[in-house]
Subunit: 173 residues, 2 copies
């Protein structure tokens, strides 16, 4: 949906920027629409089927990948691309729901370990099938393995560019 430029008939500034060609603009609009629509659809699916937001789901999922279902808050924040503050608020809510438990690291009290509870793990196991089905339905089943590989590479190139530009703190995963 986005259109980054005012009409090209707009006044010429000192250093005329390189506007997007109509092909580029069409490509960009399509990409921007997809980047809006897909996350929204996944949020909706998770909320409807599992009463979880996307980031809540992935917080549980990340913990479930650890040997003991435990991660330090700071590591969990990095892995979920959340700020520490955001994660702290988020985990507080998940803790209230009994899905996660926090306790200070016994070895170093500066760290706090977030651990998936058995209820939290059960919640994840119950939520995963419909979410994976949605990812398949919206994306995976539409593309051939070769196309998926291309999409992966394109995605990686975009992220690499952003990271290289230092516009954003480096993502961890």
């Amino acid at each position: 949906v986005p259109n980054p430029a005012p009409r090209r008939s707009a006044e010429r500034s000192a250093e005329e920027p390189r506007w997007l060609s109509s092909r580029e603009e069409a490509a960009w609009r399509a990409m921007a629409l997809a980047m809006h629509t897909l996350p929204a659809a996944l949020e909706l699916q998770l909320q409807r089927d599992s009463n979880l937001s996307y980031i809540e789901y992935h917080t549980l999922a990340r913990l479930s990948e650890e040997p003991d279902h435990v991660l330090r808050m700071s590591e969990l924040a990095a892995l979920t691309n959340a700020s520490q503050s955001r994660l702290s608020h988020l985990v507080r809510r998940l803790e209230r729901r009994g899905l996660i438990r926090r306790q200070p690291d016994p070895r170093d009290g500066r760290f706090v370990n977030a651990r998936l509870t058995s209820r939290g793990y059960a919640k994840l196991v119950a939520s995963a099938p419909s979410h994976v089905a949605a990812v398949r339905a919206f994306v995976m089943d539409e593309f051939s393995p070769a196309e998926l590989q291309q999409l992966r590479e394109a995605s990686e190139r975009i992220v690499a560019r952003i990271v290289a530009s230092d516009s954003v703190q480096h993502p961890v995963v």
Copy 2:
């Protein structure tokens, strides 16, 4: 960053879902990371350089594309993929900043016309170059025309799938 499934060693449910293969999962993680990173980088750029959010920028941009820089609130909401409520709040803030003015349609008082002020248009003209430069730097300049065309088609296929699944209200653009 997303990992949609708990470890594959998780219990088998009645109807075992089709988990993602490792290739699929890698592709999905890369795409999900890009879908997170790119919008965040653009938000950051707009906020830093122009003190506008992404949706605020596009609200101004959409209006600027209309002959008289005017759109009904409902049309503007559809074009920016915002709910009427969200847009109403948003435009109220932009109106406070003097970038947009609202007035009821003289012909039919049920409609409200949002009009870009001259300050609003000047703001957009001042903001566009750096934003377009960011879109180029992060995406357009990385890909060949053929690759951009592929990305466009892939994006359109994803959106079409989501729309077909009726998971979400139909986007207008």
